[in-house]
Amino acid sequence: MTAPTLEVRGVSVPFGDAPGLRDIGFALDPGERLVVLGASGAGKTTLLRAIAGLAPLAAGRLTVGGHDVTARPAESRDAVYLHQTPLLFPHLSVFENVAFPLRIRGYRDSEVRASVAELLESVRLEGLAGRRPHTLSGGQKHRAALARAMAARPAVLLLDEPLSALDPALRDEVRATLLSLQARYRPAMVIVTHDLEDAAVLGDRIGILLGGTLAQLDQPGRLFRRPASLAVARFLGVPNLVAGSVSASQFESALGPIPVEAETPRGPATAVFGSGALHPDPCGSLRGVVRSVHHGPRGVTLRVDVAGIELEAAPGAGAIPDPGDEFSLGLERDRVTVLPGTGDV
Protein backbone atom coordinates (compact mmCIF):
# COMPACT_ATOMS: atom_id res chain seq x y z
CA MET A 1 0.00 0.00 0.00
CA THR A 2 1.44 3.41 -0.96
CA ALA A 3 1.58 6.20 1.59
CA PRO A 4 -0.89 9.08 1.17
CA THR A 5 0.54 12.21 -0.44
CA LEU A 6 -0.47 14.25 2.59
CA GLU A 7 -1.46 12.93 5.98
CA VAL A 8 -2.59 15.26 8.73
CA ARG A 9 -2.97 13.38 12.00
CA GLY A 10 -4.24 14.79 15.29
CA VAL A 11 -3.11 18.31 14.43
CA SER A 12 -3.80 21.12 16.90
CA VAL A 13 -2.84 24.71 16.23
CA PRO A 14 -3.37 27.47 18.80
CA PHE A 15 -4.75 30.92 17.89
CA GLY A 16 -2.72 33.05 20.28
CA ASP A 17 -3.97 32.06 23.73
CA ALA A 18 -7.15 30.41 22.38
CA PRO A 19 -7.30 26.65 21.72
CA GLY A 20 -7.63 27.20 17.96
CA LEU A 21 -7.70 24.10 15.78
CA ARG A 22 -8.04 20.79 17.61
CA ASP A 23 -7.36 17.24 16.54
CA ILE A 24 -7.60 17.79 12.78
CA GLY A 25 -7.02 14.68 10.72
CA PHE A 26 -7.30 13.62 7.08
CA ALA A 27 -5.25 12.02 4.34
CA LEU A 28 -5.01 12.83 0.64
CA ASP A 29 -4.01 10.58 -2.22
CA PRO A 30 -1.98 11.85 -5.20
CA GLY A 31 -4.03 14.27 -7.27
CA GLU A 32 -6.86 14.40 -4.73
CA ARG A 33 -8.51 17.72 -3.94
CA LEU A 34 -9.82 18.48 -0.48
CA VAL A 35 -11.81 21.65 0.02
CA VAL A 36 -12.00 22.95 3.57
CA LEU A 37 -15.08 25.07 4.18
CA GLY A 38 -15.52 27.27 7.19
CA ALA A 39 -16.79 30.65 8.27
CA SER A 40 -14.44 33.63 8.52
CA GLY A 41 -12.17 33.14 11.52
CA ALA A 42 -12.76 29.38 11.63
CA GLY A 43 -9.05 28.70 11.23
CA LYS A 44 -8.94 27.70 7.57
CA THR A 45 -5.90 29.82 6.77
CA THR A 46 -4.24 28.73 10.00
CA LEU A 47 -4.65 25.11 8.95
CA LEU A 48 -3.00 25.77 5.59
CA ARG A 49 -0.17 27.74 7.20
CA ALA A 50 0.41 24.94 9.68
CA ILE A 51 0.65 22.37 6.89
CA ALA A 52 2.99 24.68 4.96
CA GLY A 53 5.25 25.10 7.98
CA LEU A 54 4.41 28.77 8.47
CA ALA A 55 2.53 28.31 11.77
CA PRO A 56 3.66 26.12 14.66
CA LEU A 57 1.68 23.03 15.72
CA ALA A 58 0.71 22.48 19.35
CA ALA A 59 0.25 18.77 18.66
CA GLY A 60 -0.04 16.29 15.85
CA ARG A 61 1.92 14.96 12.94
CA LEU A 62 2.21 15.81 9.25
CA THR A 63 3.56 13.52 6.58
CA VAL A 64 4.14 14.26 2.90
CA GLY A 65 4.71 11.24 0.69
CA GLY A 66 5.15 9.14 3.79
CA HIS A 67 7.92 11.34 5.23
CA ASP A 68 7.35 13.03 8.55
CA VAL A 69 7.67 16.77 7.88
CA THR A 70 6.28 17.98 11.21
CA ALA A 71 9.61 19.41 12.34
CA ARG A 72 10.84 20.46 8.91
CA PRO A 73 10.99 24.12 7.87
CA ALA A 74 8.62 25.40 5.19
CA GLU A 75 11.21 25.14 2.43
CA SER A 76 11.68 21.39 2.99
CA ARG A 77 8.06 20.24 3.08
CA ASP A 78 7.30 19.89 -0.63
CA ALA A 79 4.10 21.86 0.02
CA VAL A 80 3.57 25.17 -1.80
CA TYR A 81 1.25 27.70 -0.21
CA LEU A 82 -0.63 30.20 -2.39
CA HIS A 83 -2.05 33.28 -0.69
CA GLN A 84 -5.48 34.60 -1.48
CA THR A 85 -3.98 37.38 -3.59
CA PRO A 86 -1.38 36.23 -6.11
CA LEU A 87 1.87 37.40 -4.56
CA LEU A 88 4.24 37.61 -7.48
CA PHE A 89 7.72 38.95 -6.83
CA PRO A 90 7.42 42.55 -8.03
CA HIS A 91 11.09 42.89 -8.93
CA LEU A 92 11.04 39.90 -11.29
CA SER A 93 9.47 39.47 -14.71
CA VAL A 94 6.73 36.90 -15.21
CA PHE A 95 9.34 34.54 -16.67
CA GLU A 96 11.64 34.93 -13.67
CA ASN A 97 8.75 34.54 -11.26
CA VAL A 98 7.88 31.19 -12.78
CA ALA A 99 11.57 30.29 -12.98
CA PHE A 100 12.10 31.09 -9.28
CA PRO A 101 11.63 27.54 -7.90
CA LEU A 102 13.87 26.15 -10.64
CA ARG A 103 16.66 28.70 -10.13
CA ILE A 104 16.85 28.04 -6.40
CA ARG A 105 17.10 24.33 -7.13
CA GLY A 106 20.08 24.96 -9.40
CA TYR A 107 18.57 23.89 -12.71
CA ARG A 108 20.60 24.68 -15.82
CA ASP A 109 19.49 27.68 -17.84
CA SER A 110 18.33 25.56 -20.79
CA GLU A 111 16.20 23.41 -18.47
CA VAL A 112 14.75 26.51 -16.84
CA ARG A 113 13.82 27.99 -20.22
CA ALA A 114 12.16 24.81 -21.42
CA SER A 115 10.24 24.24 -18.21
CA VAL A 116 9.07 27.85 -17.87
CA ALA A 117 8.01 27.98 -21.53
CA GLU A 118 5.90 24.85 -21.03
CA LEU A 119 4.30 26.23 -17.88
CA LEU A 120 3.60 29.64 -19.37
CA GLU A 121 2.01 27.96 -22.36
CA SER A 122 -0.17 25.84 -20.10
CA VAL A 123 -1.51 28.98 -18.39
CA ARG A 124 -1.69 30.95 -21.66
CA LEU A 125 0.87 33.55 -20.62
CA GLU A 126 3.58 32.74 -23.15
CA GLY A 127 3.33 36.19 -24.73
CA LEU A 128 3.75 37.98 -21.41
CA ALA A 129 6.95 36.36 -20.17
CA GLY A 130 8.89 39.62 -20.10
CA ARG A 131 6.23 41.68 -18.37
CA ARG A 132 6.46 42.93 -14.80
CA PRO A 133 3.73 41.68 -12.44
CA HIS A 134 2.21 45.14 -11.97
CA THR A 135 1.36 45.27 -15.67
CA LEU A 136 -0.74 42.08 -15.55
CA SER A 137 -4.49 41.85 -15.06
CA GLY A 138 -5.92 40.09 -12.00
CA GLY A 139 -6.55 36.84 -13.84
CA GLN A 140 -3.11 36.88 -15.43
CA LYS A 141 -1.50 37.35 -12.01
CA HIS A 142 -3.41 34.37 -10.65
CA ARG A 143 -2.36 32.23 -13.60
CA ALA A 144 1.27 33.28 -13.26
CA ALA A 145 1.21 32.44 -9.54
CA LEU A 146 -0.24 29.03 -10.32
CA ALA A 147 2.42 28.40 -12.96
CA ARG A 148 5.13 29.39 -10.47
CA ALA A 149 3.69 27.05 -7.87
CA MET A 150 3.64 24.19 -10.37
CA ALA A 151 7.24 24.93 -11.36
CA ALA A 152 8.21 23.69 -7.90
CA ARG A 153 6.49 20.38 -8.78
CA PRO A 154 5.05 20.20 -5.26
CA ALA A 155 3.52 17.06 -3.85
CA VAL A 156 0.99 19.25 -2.08
CA LEU A 157 -0.53 22.55 -3.19
CA LEU A 158 -2.23 24.65 -0.52
CA LEU A 159 -4.60 27.31 -1.83
CA ASP A 160 -6.03 30.00 0.41
CA GLU A 161 -9.35 31.27 -0.98
CA PRO A 162 -7.99 31.23 -4.54
CA LEU A 163 -11.19 32.48 -6.16
CA SER A 164 -12.84 34.61 -3.54
CA ALA A 165 -11.61 38.02 -4.70
CA LEU A 166 -12.48 37.45 -8.35
CA ASP A 167 -15.48 38.49 -10.39
CA PRO A 168 -17.57 35.63 -11.87
CA ALA A 169 -15.88 35.60 -15.31
CA LEU A 170 -12.39 35.65 -13.82
CA ARG A 171 -13.43 33.01 -11.33
CA ASP A 172 -14.30 30.59 -14.10
CA GLU A 173 -11.03 31.36 -15.88
CA VAL A 174 -8.84 30.77 -12.81
CA ARG A 175 -10.84 27.72 -11.76
CA ALA A 176 -10.37 26.17 -15.21
CA THR A 177 -6.63 26.91 -15.12
CA LEU A 178 -6.35 25.41 -11.66
CA LEU A 179 -8.09 22.20 -12.68
CA SER A 180 -6.11 21.81 -15.91
CA LEU A 181 -2.78 22.35 -14.12
CA GLN A 182 -3.75 19.87 -11.46
CA ALA A 183 -4.76 17.29 -14.05
CA ARG A 184 -1.37 17.75 -15.69
CA TYR A 185 0.95 17.83 -12.66
CA ARG A 186 -1.15 15.86 -10.15
CA PRO A 187 -0.37 17.53 -6.84
CA ALA A 188 -2.68 16.80 -3.94
CA MET A 189 -4.55 19.99 -3.11
CA VAL A 190 -6.01 21.50 0.00
CA ILE A 191 -8.20 24.44 -0.92
CA VAL A 192 -9.86 26.60 1.70
CA THR A 193 -12.89 28.69 0.89
CA HIS A 194 -16.14 29.88 2.34
CA ASP A 195 -17.91 29.55 -1.01
CA LEU A 196 -20.16 26.49 -1.28
CA GLU A 197 -20.20 26.54 -5.08
CA ASP A 198 -16.40 26.61 -5.31
CA ALA A 199 -16.29 23.76 -2.83
CA ALA A 200 -18.78 21.68 -4.80
CA VAL A 201 -16.92 22.23 -8.08
CA LEU A 202 -13.35 21.88 -6.83
CA GLY A 203 -13.57 19.29 -4.09
CA ASP A 204 -13.19 15.55 -4.44
CA ARG A 205 -13.98 15.73 -0.74
CA ILE A 206 -15.13 18.58 1.43
CA GLY A 207 -14.26 19.18 5.06
CA ILE A 208 -16.35 21.46 7.26
CA LEU A 209 -14.32 23.33 9.87
CA LEU A 210 -16.53 24.36 12.78
CA GLY A 211 -15.51 25.38 16.27
CA GLY A 212 -11.90 24.45 15.63
CA THR A 213 -12.60 20.87 14.61
CA LEU A 214 -13.36 19.09 11.35
CA ALA A 215 -17.11 18.59 11.86
CA GLN A 216 -17.58 16.53 8.71
CA LEU A 217 -15.37 15.24 5.91
CA ASP A 218 -17.21 13.72 2.97
CA GLN A 219 -17.76 13.64 -0.76
CA PRO A 220 -19.71 16.69 -1.97
CA GLY A 221 -22.88 14.81 -2.92
CA ARG A 222 -23.06 13.03 0.38
CA LEU A 223 -22.11 16.10 2.42
CA PHE A 224 -24.79 18.30 0.91
CA ARG A 225 -27.44 15.59 1.12
CA ARG A 226 -26.48 14.12 4.47
CA PRO A 227 -24.99 16.74 6.79
CA ALA A 228 -23.61 15.04 9.87
CA SER A 229 -25.00 17.50 12.41
CA LEU A 230 -27.35 20.41 12.76
CA ALA A 231 -24.36 22.74 12.97
CA VAL A 232 -23.09 21.47 9.62
CA ALA A 233 -26.57 21.74 8.09
CA ARG A 234 -26.85 25.32 9.28
CA PHE A 235 -23.38 26.15 7.98
CA LEU A 236 -24.23 24.67 4.57
CA GLY A 237 -27.30 26.85 4.47
CA VAL A 238 -29.74 23.94 4.20
CA PRO A 239 -32.98 25.91 3.94
CA ASN A 240 -35.42 23.55 5.63
CA LEU A 241 -34.97 22.54 9.27
CA VAL A 242 -38.16 21.06 10.80
CA ALA A 243 -38.28 20.19 14.50
CA GLY A 244 -39.94 16.99 15.69
CA SER A 245 -39.11 13.84 17.55
CA VAL A 246 -38.05 10.29 16.86
CA SER A 247 -40.05 7.49 18.37
CA ALA A 248 -40.07 3.84 17.39
CA SER A 249 -38.71 3.88 13.84
CA GLN A 250 -40.06 7.15 12.57
CA PHE A 251 -39.69 10.88 12.84
CA GLU A 252 -42.88 12.72 13.74
CA SER A 253 -43.45 16.37 12.91
CA ALA A 254 -45.95 18.72 11.30
CA LEU A 255 -44.89 17.20 7.99
CA GLY A 256 -46.16 13.77 9.03
CA PRO A 257 -44.20 10.61 9.73
CA ILE A 258 -40.85 9.98 8.07
CA PRO A 259 -39.18 6.57 8.44
CA VAL A 260 -35.74 6.67 10.05
CA GLU A 261 -32.92 4.18 10.44
CA ALA A 262 -33.15 1.88 13.41
CA GLU A 263 -30.04 3.32 15.11
CA THR A 264 -31.42 6.88 15.11
CA PRO A 265 -31.55 8.02 18.77
CA ARG A 266 -35.01 8.49 20.25
CA GLY A 267 -36.10 11.95 21.39
CA PRO A 268 -36.10 15.46 19.96
CA ALA A 269 -34.81 15.60 16.42
CA THR A 270 -34.74 17.80 13.32
CA ALA A 271 -35.56 16.93 9.73
CA VAL A 272 -33.14 18.59 7.33
CA PHE A 273 -33.68 18.86 3.58
CA GLY A 274 -32.98 21.07 0.61
CA SER A 275 -35.55 22.88 -1.48
CA GLY A 276 -35.24 20.19 -4.18
CA ALA A 277 -36.80 17.61 -1.86
CA LEU A 278 -40.07 19.57 -1.65
CA HIS A 279 -42.02 20.40 -4.80
CA PRO A 280 -45.55 20.73 -6.18
CA ASP A 281 -47.20 17.33 -6.53
CA PRO A 282 -50.96 16.91 -7.14
CA CYS A 283 -50.79 13.61 -5.27
CA GLY A 284 -48.70 15.04 -2.41
CA SER A 285 -49.91 14.74 1.17
CA LEU A 286 -48.89 18.27 2.20
CA ARG A 287 -50.80 21.48 1.51
CA GLY A 288 -48.95 24.74 1.18
CA VAL A 289 -49.54 28.41 0.45
CA VAL A 290 -46.92 30.34 -1.51
CA ARG A 291 -45.62 33.26 0.53
CA SER A 292 -43.01 34.53 -1.94
CA VAL A 293 -41.16 33.61 -5.12
CA HIS A 294 -37.39 34.13 -5.41
CA HIS A 295 -35.61 34.35 -8.74
CA GLY A 296 -31.87 33.64 -8.37
CA PRO A 297 -28.91 32.74 -10.59
CA ARG A 298 -29.58 29.04 -10.08
CA GLY A 299 -33.31 29.16 -10.73
CA VAL A 300 -36.52 29.85 -8.87
CA THR A 301 -37.37 28.89 -5.31
CA LEU A 302 -40.64 29.24 -3.45
CA ARG A 303 -41.21 30.17 0.19
CA VAL A 304 -44.20 28.08 1.16
CA ASP A 305 -46.24 27.93 4.36
CA VAL A 306 -46.83 24.27 5.20
CA ALA A 307 -48.78 23.57 8.38
CA GLY A 308 -47.59 26.83 9.89
CA ILE A 309 -43.92 26.21 8.99
CA GLU A 310 -42.27 28.30 6.29
CA LEU A 311 -40.25 26.05 3.99
CA GLU A 312 -38.29 26.49 0.80
CA ALA A 313 -39.48 24.44 -2.16
CA ALA A 314 -38.62 23.96 -5.81
CA PRO A 315 -41.29 25.13 -8.31
CA GLY A 316 -41.30 21.81 -10.20
CA ALA A 317 -41.76 21.43 -13.95
CA GLY A 318 -45.05 23.31 -14.28
CA ALA A 319 -45.89 27.00 -14.22
CA ILE A 320 -44.37 29.04 -11.42
CA PRO A 321 -47.12 29.75 -8.87
CA ASP A 322 -47.83 33.22 -7.58
CA PRO A 323 -47.80 34.37 -3.98
CA GLY A 324 -51.06 33.35 -2.30
CA ASP A 325 -51.54 30.26 -4.48
CA GLU A 326 -52.40 27.11 -2.55
CA PHE A 327 -51.36 23.70 -3.83
CA SER A 328 -50.31 20.18 -2.90
CA LEU A 329 -46.67 19.35 -2.19
CA GLY A 330 -44.70 16.15 -2.21
CA LEU A 331 -41.71 15.54 0.04
CA GLU A 332 -39.03 13.10 -1.17
CA ARG A 333 -38.47 11.35 2.11
CA ASP A 334 -35.27 9.66 1.01
CA ARG A 335 -33.74 13.13 0.60
CA VAL A 336 -34.53 14.05 4.18
CA THR A 337 -31.91 13.64 6.91
CA VAL A 338 -33.08 13.32 10.49
CA LEU A 339 -30.54 14.61 13.01
CA PRO A 340 -30.68 14.36 16.79
CA GLY A 341 -31.57 17.51 18.71
CA THR A 342 -33.49 20.57 17.71
CA GLY A 343 -31.16 23.39 18.68
CA ASP A 344 -33.08 26.61 18.20
CA VAL A 345 -35.00 25.39 15.12
Partner: protein, 283 residues
Protein backbone atom coordinates in the same frame (compact mmCIF):
# COMPACT_ATOMS: atom_id res chain seq x y z
CA UNK B 1 -9.10 70.77 -16.30
CA UNK B 2 -11.62 70.49 -13.46
CA UNK B 3 -11.96 73.03 -10.68
CA UNK B 4 -10.49 70.61 -8.17
CA UNK B 5 -7.43 69.87 -10.26
CA UNK B 6 -6.95 73.59 -10.96
CA UNK B 7 -7.02 74.31 -7.22
CA UNK B 8 -4.56 71.44 -6.64
CA UNK B 9 -2.23 72.87 -9.25
CA UNK B 10 -2.38 76.31 -7.65
CA UNK B 11 -1.61 74.82 -4.22
CA UNK B 12 1.38 72.97 -5.65
CA UNK B 13 2.53 76.14 -7.34
CA UNK B 14 2.31 78.03 -4.03
CA UNK B 15 4.56 75.41 -2.44
CA UNK B 16 7.02 75.55 -5.34
CA UNK B 17 7.00 79.32 -5.68
CA UNK B 18 9.81 80.09 -3.17
CA UNK B 19 12.00 77.52 -4.91
CA UNK B 20 11.24 78.92 -8.35
CA UNK B 21 11.88 82.48 -7.17
CA UNK B 22 15.09 81.41 -5.44
CA UNK B 23 16.37 79.54 -8.49
CA UNK B 24 15.40 82.41 -10.78
CA UNK B 25 17.16 84.94 -8.57
CA UNK B 26 20.23 82.68 -8.30
CA UNK B 27 20.43 82.36 -12.08
CA UNK B 28 20.15 86.12 -12.50
CA UNK B 29 22.74 86.78 -9.79
CA UNK B 30 25.09 84.16 -11.25
CA UNK B 31 24.88 85.88 -14.61
CA UNK B 32 25.61 89.24 -13.01
CA UNK B 33 22.16 90.61 -13.78
CA UNK B 34 21.14 91.40 -10.22
CA UNK B 35 22.51 91.78 -6.71
CA UNK B 36 25.67 93.51 -5.47
CA UNK B 37 28.41 93.50 -8.07
CA UNK B 38 26.02 92.99 -10.97
CA UNK B 39 27.99 93.67 -14.13
CA UNK B 40 25.25 93.70 -16.73
CA UNK B 41 25.11 90.04 -17.75
CA UNK B 42 27.48 87.40 -19.08
CA UNK B 43 29.10 84.19 -17.89
CA UNK B 44 32.20 85.83 -16.39
CA UNK B 45 31.19 85.19 -12.77
CA UNK B 46 30.18 81.60 -13.56
CA UNK B 47 33.49 80.93 -15.27
CA UNK B 48 35.47 82.57 -12.49
CA UNK B 49 33.79 80.67 -9.65
CA UNK B 50 33.79 77.33 -11.46
CA UNK B 51 37.45 77.86 -12.28
CA UNK B 52 38.46 77.98 -8.61
CA UNK B 53 40.08 74.72 -7.36
CA UNK B 54 38.65 75.35 -3.88
CA UNK B 55 35.15 74.96 -5.28
CA UNK B 56 35.83 71.54 -6.78
CA UNK B 57 37.77 70.26 -3.78
CA UNK B 58 34.90 71.44 -1.53
CA UNK B 59 32.35 69.74 -3.77
CA UNK B 60 34.36 66.51 -3.88
CA UNK B 61 34.72 66.53 -0.09
CA UNK B 62 31.00 67.11 0.42
CA UNK B 63 30.15 64.30 -2.00
CA UNK B 64 32.56 61.96 -0.19
CA UNK B 65 30.97 62.69 3.18
CA UNK B 66 27.47 62.33 1.73
CA UNK B 67 28.28 59.05 -0.01
CA UNK B 68 30.09 57.52 2.97
CA UNK B 69 27.55 58.52 5.62
CA UNK B 70 24.59 57.55 3.42
CA UNK B 71 26.16 54.17 2.64
CA UNK B 72 26.85 53.48 6.32
CA UNK B 73 23.34 54.51 7.34
CA UNK B 74 21.73 52.45 4.57
CA UNK B 75 23.80 49.37 5.41
CA UNK B 76 22.81 49.67 9.06
CA UNK B 77 19.16 50.13 8.14
CA UNK B 78 19.17 47.04 5.93
CA UNK B 79 20.82 44.95 8.64
CA UNK B 80 18.39 45.94 11.40
CA UNK B 81 15.36 45.65 9.10
CA UNK B 82 16.43 42.14 8.10
CA UNK B 83 17.26 41.10 11.67
CA UNK B 84 14.44 42.58 13.73
CA UNK B 85 11.29 41.97 11.71
CA UNK B 86 9.18 39.76 13.91
CA UNK B 87 6.50 40.55 16.44
CA UNK B 88 8.58 39.33 19.38
CA UNK B 89 9.16 41.85 22.16
CA UNK B 90 12.92 41.95 21.60
CA UNK B 91 12.39 42.75 17.93
CA UNK B 92 9.87 45.48 18.73
CA UNK B 93 12.29 46.99 21.25
CA UNK B 94 15.13 46.84 18.74
CA UNK B 95 12.99 48.64 16.15
CA UNK B 96 12.09 51.30 18.68
CA UNK B 97 15.73 51.85 19.68
CA UNK B 98 16.77 52.05 16.03
CA UNK B 99 14.49 55.01 15.33
CA UNK B 100 15.16 56.86 18.60
CA UNK B 101 17.67 59.32 17.02
CA UNK B 102 14.93 60.59 14.68
CA UNK B 103 13.70 63.53 16.77
CA UNK B 104 17.18 64.75 17.69
CA UNK B 105 18.07 67.96 15.81
CA UNK B 106 21.06 67.73 13.49
CA UNK B 107 22.82 70.51 15.36
CA UNK B 108 22.41 68.66 18.67
CA UNK B 109 23.68 65.47 17.02
CA UNK B 110 26.71 67.36 15.72
CA UNK B 111 27.53 68.84 19.13
CA UNK B 112 27.12 65.38 20.66
CA UNK B 113 29.50 64.06 18.00
CA UNK B 114 32.02 66.75 18.89
CA UNK B 115 31.78 66.01 22.63
CA UNK B 116 32.04 62.28 22.04
CA UNK B 117 34.60 61.98 19.25
CA UNK B 118 36.93 64.96 19.80
CA UNK B 119 40.49 64.45 21.02
CA UNK B 120 39.41 65.70 24.42
CA UNK B 121 36.00 64.07 24.11
CA UNK B 122 34.29 61.39 26.13
CA UNK B 123 35.51 58.51 23.99
CA UNK B 124 39.14 59.66 24.23
CA UNK B 125 38.85 60.01 28.00
CA UNK B 126 37.19 56.62 28.36
CA UNK B 127 39.85 54.88 26.28
CA UNK B 128 42.59 56.65 28.23
CA UNK B 129 41.03 55.65 31.57
CA UNK B 130 40.87 52.06 30.35
CA UNK B 131 44.57 52.25 29.49
CA UNK B 132 43.96 51.82 25.78
CA UNK B 133 45.39 55.29 25.11
CA UNK B 134 48.35 56.92 26.89
CA UNK B 135 46.35 60.13 27.13
CA UNK B 136 43.17 61.53 25.61
CA UNK B 137 45.35 63.48 23.19
CA UNK B 138 46.51 60.18 21.72
CA UNK B 139 43.04 59.71 20.20
CA UNK B 140 43.13 59.75 16.39
CA UNK B 141 41.64 62.95 14.98
CA UNK B 142 38.00 62.24 14.15
CA UNK B 143 36.74 65.80 14.07
CA UNK B 144 38.01 68.61 11.84
CA UNK B 145 39.94 65.83 10.07
CA UNK B 146 40.48 65.89 6.32
CA UNK B 147 38.74 62.52 5.91
CA UNK B 148 35.67 63.83 7.76
CA UNK B 149 35.33 60.66 9.83
CA UNK B 150 33.60 62.31 12.77
CA UNK B 151 31.13 64.06 10.50
CA UNK B 152 30.51 60.86 8.55
CA UNK B 153 29.88 58.85 11.73
CA UNK B 154 27.60 61.51 13.19
CA UNK B 155 25.53 61.91 10.03
CA UNK B 156 25.40 58.15 9.50
CA UNK B 157 24.04 57.70 13.04
CA UNK B 158 21.49 60.46 12.57
CA UNK B 159 20.31 59.34 9.11
CA UNK B 160 20.35 55.66 10.04
CA UNK B 161 17.19 56.20 12.09
CA UNK B 162 15.30 57.63 9.12
CA UNK B 163 16.46 54.92 6.73
CA UNK B 164 15.72 52.20 9.31
CA UNK B 165 12.17 53.53 9.64
CA UNK B 166 11.70 53.30 5.87
CA UNK B 167 13.32 49.84 5.75
CA UNK B 168 11.04 48.53 8.53
CA UNK B 169 8.08 49.78 6.57
CA UNK B 170 9.24 48.13 3.33
CA UNK B 171 9.78 44.79 5.06
CA UNK B 172 6.52 44.97 7.00
CA UNK B 173 4.30 45.95 4.08
CA UNK B 174 5.72 43.75 1.35
CA UNK B 175 8.59 41.61 2.48
CA UNK B 176 7.15 39.19 4.97
CA UNK B 177 4.48 37.58 2.82
CA UNK B 178 6.75 37.42 -0.22
CA UNK B 179 9.38 35.72 1.90
CA UNK B 180 6.79 33.16 2.95
CA UNK B 181 5.99 32.54 -0.69
CA UNK B 182 9.67 32.06 -1.45
CA UNK B 183 10.10 29.67 1.46
CA UNK B 184 7.22 27.41 0.48
CA UNK B 185 8.58 27.42 -3.07
CA UNK B 186 11.69 25.84 -1.60
CA UNK B 187 14.05 28.78 -0.95
CA UNK B 188 16.36 28.43 2.05
CA UNK B 189 16.93 31.49 4.28
CA UNK B 190 20.05 32.68 2.41
CA UNK B 191 18.27 32.39 -0.95
CA UNK B 192 15.21 34.18 0.46
CA UNK B 193 17.39 37.10 1.53
CA UNK B 194 19.40 37.23 -1.70
CA UNK B 195 16.52 36.80 -4.12
CA UNK B 196 13.60 38.44 -2.29
CA UNK B 197 14.42 40.46 0.83
CA UNK B 198 17.45 42.30 -0.49
CA UNK B 199 15.98 43.26 -3.90
CA UNK B 200 12.81 44.50 -2.23
CA UNK B 201 14.68 46.38 0.45
CA UNK B 202 17.06 48.24 -1.79
CA UNK B 203 14.38 49.13 -4.29
CA UNK B 204 12.13 50.35 -1.49
CA UNK B 205 14.94 52.17 0.25
CA UNK B 206 16.49 53.84 -2.77
CA UNK B 207 14.26 56.95 -2.90
CA UNK B 208 15.01 57.56 0.79
CA UNK B 209 18.71 56.91 0.21
CA UNK B 210 18.75 59.50 -2.58
CA UNK B 211 16.93 61.96 -0.33
CA UNK B 212 19.46 61.38 2.47
CA UNK B 213 22.41 61.73 0.08
CA UNK B 214 21.09 65.01 -1.30
CA UNK B 215 20.36 66.32 2.18
CA UNK B 216 23.75 65.35 3.62
CA UNK B 217 25.63 66.77 0.62
CA UNK B 218 24.08 70.16 1.32
CA UNK B 219 23.69 70.09 5.10
CA UNK B 220 25.20 73.03 6.93
CA UNK B 221 24.86 72.68 10.72
CA UNK B 222 26.70 69.43 11.35
CA UNK B 223 29.29 70.33 8.71
CA UNK B 224 29.95 73.68 10.39
CA UNK B 225 30.50 71.94 13.75
CA UNK B 226 32.59 68.95 12.65
CA UNK B 227 34.19 69.62 9.25
CA UNK B 228 37.76 70.86 8.62
CA UNK B 229 38.47 74.25 7.12
CA UNK B 230 40.56 72.69 4.39
CA UNK B 231 39.08 71.53 2.18
CA UNK B 232 36.08 73.70 2.87
CA UNK B 233 32.83 71.80 2.31
CA UNK B 234 30.57 73.25 -0.38
CA UNK B 235 27.78 74.38 2.01
CA UNK B 236 30.34 76.20 4.20
CA UNK B 237 32.00 77.78 1.18
CA UNK B 238 28.62 78.93 -0.10
CA UNK B 239 27.74 80.71 3.14
CA UNK B 240 31.26 82.10 3.47
CA UNK B 241 30.91 83.76 0.05
CA UNK B 242 27.42 85.01 0.85
CA UNK B 243 28.55 86.65 4.10
CA UNK B 244 31.86 87.95 2.70
CA UNK B 245 32.60 91.50 3.72
CA UNK B 246 33.19 92.21 0.03
CA UNK B 247 29.60 92.39 -1.16
CA UNK B 248 30.64 91.87 -4.78
CA UNK B 249 31.43 88.27 -3.87
CA UNK B 250 27.86 87.57 -2.84
CA UNK B 251 27.07 86.59 -6.42
CA UNK B 252 29.60 83.72 -6.05
CA UNK B 253 27.30 82.17 -3.45
CA UNK B 254 24.50 81.95 -6.01
CA UNK B 255 26.78 80.14 -8.44
CA UNK B 256 27.69 77.69 -5.64
CA UNK B 257 24.03 77.25 -4.70
CA UNK B 258 23.22 76.37 -8.31
CA UNK B 259 26.14 73.92 -8.32
CA UNK B 260 24.74 72.23 -5.19
CA UNK B 261 21.33 72.09 -6.76
CA UNK B 262 22.76 70.55 -9.93
CA UNK B 263 24.27 67.77 -7.81
CA UNK B 264 20.88 67.13 -6.22
CA UNK B 265 19.12 67.10 -9.58
CA UNK B 266 21.71 64.69 -10.96
CA UNK B 267 21.12 62.32 -8.03
CA UNK B 268 17.35 62.45 -8.53
CA UNK B 269 17.75 61.99 -12.30
CA UNK B 270 19.98 58.95 -11.71
CA UNK B 271 17.34 57.48 -9.44
CA UNK B 272 14.56 58.07 -11.95
CA UNK B 273 16.66 56.52 -14.71
CA UNK B 274 17.34 53.44 -12.59
CA UNK B 275 13.68 53.11 -11.66
CA UNK B 276 12.54 53.39 -15.25
CA UNK B 277 14.96 50.61 -16.18
CA UNK B 278 13.46 48.29 -13.54
CA UNK B 279 9.91 49.09 -14.54
CA UNK B 280 10.27 48.82 -18.28
CA UNK B 281 9.04 45.76 -20.15
CA UNK B 282 11.74 43.26 -20.83
CA UNK B 283 12.05 41.86 -24.35
Amino acid sequence: MTGASRRGLLAALAVALPVLVGVGYSVLASLGLTGPGAAGGGAARLAAVLGEPVVWSGLAWSLWVAAASTALAAAGAVVVAAMFRRGARTDRMARLFAVLPLPIPHLAAAVAGLLLLGQSGLLARLLASLGLLESPGGMPALVYDRAGLGLILTLAWKEFAFLALVAFSVVATRGERLEEVARTLGARPAAVFRRVTWPLLWRGLLPAVVAVFVFVASTYEATAVLAPSDPLALPLLTLERYTDADLTRRGDAFVLALLGMAVSLLAVAAHEWARSRWDRFEP
